[in-house]
């Protein structure tokens, strides 16, 4: 290994990288854009615009609507005068939920009968609908219990405080903030994207230019060339990680619970997979465009399978097996483990080991292909 030659290549790559303002812009702005987009778009399913048609117009019916509002999941933004109003608002998407309280609501309550309240939600987005429905049901049950107890007390019954007191605690993310979950995921996603894209051009661009032949005729060895090309890519990778972390902490207020040093070490482990993959694609593609098309076959499924959006545990079995074949799945688990839970190698060693194994296989394949194309 001749370090002078490695540095010569690295210096050339740096010069070219910083000379191309578009690449610099894309590499620096892309992560920030993604963090902001995902960070804000992932906000909770709270304050759903709701239309209420209160036919009862009593203190009791208002109490019910207040309870829904207080849950923070509904905000009653429209008042309907007819069922057609309700349907129209949900149809055109202005409201995501409709509440209809019948005219005899209060009367039935006083007669100790069960009035029916209709809660209709727009279930196009199943997750949001699910949440809204559960909250509405819980509000209803709660009101029923309170009324029952009040009634029994009025009748002179001495009601002891019995029942299960569920004290729910949201560990690691006490505020139940979505961005705490999503932003570390974006870090993993951006890493995979930037690293594969940058390393994808290593061989194929030089081949397109005709400069690869000049490099082959020079005394440089394939290992020196590959290392010289990887050093700038990794540097940019670390700059990206740092930028995203700073954004996470100071913009979104997502604290890093675990060790940053450990995080940076696992990022290095992940380089073997991403840089290896990009380099591999670079050695099989004839043109850069072709390389981009090839890499899409991998990048999109790996994002969907990794658990970035859909939790792996909730996937069908076959999909889970596929998910475990995606290196990003492990890196995602590691990054979330470190940033959100604050755990270290004592808990994350299985994931780190798997990531290392994937990295070794992918990287070795890439190096062998690289050498064959060069020597």
């Amino acid at each position: 290994m001749n370090w002078g030659r490695v540095w010569t290549i690295a210096a050339k790559e740096f010069t070219q990288f910083f000379r191309d303002h578009r690449t610099v812009g894309a590499t620096v702005l892309m992560p920030i854009l993604q963090v902001i987009l995902y960070g804000y778009l992932s906000s909770d399913i709270k304050h759903q615009p709701t239309i209420a048609w209160d036919l009862s117009q009593t203190a009791e019916s208002r109490q019910f609507l207040d309870a829904l509002t207080n849950s923070q999941y509904f905000s009653i933004t429209f008042r309907a005068q007819s069922m057609r109003d309700v349907v129209r608002h949900i149809d055109d998407g202005q409201a995501l939920a409709g509440i209809v309280i019948p005219p005899d609501y209060a009367t039935l309550l006083h007669r100790k009968q069960q009035p029916q309240v209709m809660v209709a939600v727009d279930a196009s987005d199943a997750t949001a609908a699910q949440t809204a429905l559960s909250v509405a049901e819980a509000v209803g049950t709660n009101i029923s219990h309170t009324l029952q107890i009040q009634q029994l007390r009025l009748q002179g019954a001495n009601i002891p405080r019995i029942g299960v007191d569920v004290r729910a605690r949201a560990w690691y993310n006490p505020g139940l903030r979505q961005e705490v979950f999503i932003v570390p995921g974006v870090l993993a996603l951006v890493m995979q994207f930037t690293m594969t894209f940058l390393s994808m051009s290593t061989i194929v661009r030089e081949r397109e230019l005709g400069t690869l032949e000049q490099l082959i005729v020079s005394p440089i060895r394939s290992s020196e060339l590959m290392l010289g090309k990887m050093i700038p890519i990794m540097t940019i990778g670390y700059i990206n990680v740092t930028m995203i972390l700073l954004f996470a902490v100071f913009w979104f207020g997502v604290p890093v619970a675990g060790s940053v040093v450990f995080l940076y070490l696992t990022v290095f482990v992940f380089f073997f997979t991403t840089v290896g993959l990009g380099t591999f694609v670079s050695t099989i593609a004839k043109t850069y465009i072709q390389a981009i098309q090839l890499i899409q076959f991998f990048l999109l499924p790996s994002m969907l399978l990794s658990g970035f959006i859909f939790p792996v545990d909730a996937m069908p079995k076959v999909m889970q097996w596929l998910a475990y074949l995606v290196p990003l799945t492990y890196f995602l688990a590691i990054v979330r483990g470190i940033i959100i839970k604050g755990v270290g190698i004592d808990y994350l060693w299985p994931q780190v080991l798997m990531l290392l194994a994937f990295g070794m296989v992918v990287f070795t394949t890439a190096v062998l292909r690289f050498r064959k194309r060069i020597d």
């Binding site: 050339k12 230019l209 005709g210 032949e213 005729v217 020079s218």
Partner: protein, 310 residues
């Protein structure tokens, strides 16, 4: 290397196949140290493929090659340290400046410090690139791109230089300048293998090889090639209607090849008595001719007759 005894290059039955296509077939030759060795042939004849095998870019399907005493297949690194290669196509980074290119190649060949700066400024001046040194290669004209490529090739003072069509796309004045440099290199002891399309340039070479369809069809000094008896007689015909003459004689069995040469017509004739038969033929067919004379063939004639025979 130890003097004149060992050749700088020894190619032994080099063959390269790409699938069913035979690009280079059983090519053997030797190049002596300090020689300018010209490699001629039409596009696709196998020149570049042969050079790329000699530089270690392509591995031969069969055969072997020794460059500067090293077997290319066994010691490619030793060979690569000592040679310079200028590819036919563009081989520059459009987003790097002239100076950055030279610094890069200096780094690859381990030149550093004052040695590096001296070499760079020497070639910048020698190839008239000094005024362009800060310009990006992508903004240079074709001629300057060739100059830069040549500078990158010669920067590390290689003992053996491969120049694949160094003057294609270069204006006539610069061509002469390039050849001045090539001749000076050879005089200083560097061995040069050069390919060219321009047959006038081939006259600068000490030795020539003509390659056609992957095979070497003739070799020797420019003079010996022209003298070669196999080429028969070359006749120069001046006529008010050269095109008519050409049409009439082209298909005759005693004519090896015929082609326009300036305003005259050059005809290669196989038989010894061909000249008489030619004048007889022209008289019989009442084709007006001003003069017929035997001339020393140009390389173009040699080339045309060799290729025409096939």
């Amino acid at each position: 290397m130890n003097g004149s005894a060992a050749p700088t290059i020894r190619a032994d039955a080099l063959t390269k196949r790409f699938g069913d296509f035979v690009a280079v077939s059983d090519v053997s030759f030797e190049i002596r140290a300090g020689e300018i060795w010209g490699f001629l042939g039409p596009n696709g004849a196998g020149k570049s493929t042969t050079i790329r095998m000699l530089c270690g870019v392509l591995s031969p399907t069969s055969g072997s090659a020794e460059v500067l005493g090293f077997d290319v297949a066994r010691d490619p690194e030793e060979v690569k340290l000592r040679i310079g290669y200028m590819a036919q196509g563009s081989s520059l980074w459009n987003d790097l400046s002239v100076q950055e290119h030279l610094r890069f190649y200096a780094g690859l060949f381990g030149l550093a410090g004052t040695k590096r700066e001296d070499a760079i400024s020497h070639w910048l001046k020698r190839l008239d690139l000094y005024g362009q040194r800060a310009r990006l290669a992508g903004t240079l004209s074709g001629g300057y791109r060739k100059r830069l490529a040549l500078a990158c090739t010669l920067l590390h003072e290689p003992q053996m230089v491969f120049l694949d069509e160094p003057t294609s796309g270069v204006d006539p004045l610069s061509r002469r300048e390039f050849w001045d440099i090539i001749v000076a290199l050879a005089e200083a002891g560097t061995t040069v293998l050069v390919t060219t399309h321009y047959l006038d340039e081939a006259e600068h070479c000490n030795d020539l090889a003509l390659i056609y369809d992957g095979k070497i069809v003739a070799s020797g000094t420019p003079e010996s090639l022209k003298r070669d008896a196999r080429n028969g007689i070359t006749a120069e015909i001046l006529s008010p209607d050269t095109v008519r003459v050409l049409d009439a004689i082209e298909t005759q069995p005693f004519v090896a090849s015929a082609g326009l040469y300036g305003s005259a017509l050059h005809v290669c004739i196989r038989e010894r008595d061909g000249l008489d038969r030619l004048s007889q033929f022209l008289q019989e067919h009442a084709i007006p001719v001003d003069s017929i004379a035997q001339v020393t063939p140009s390389l173009e004639d040699v080339f045309a007759s060799l290729v025409g025979k096939r």
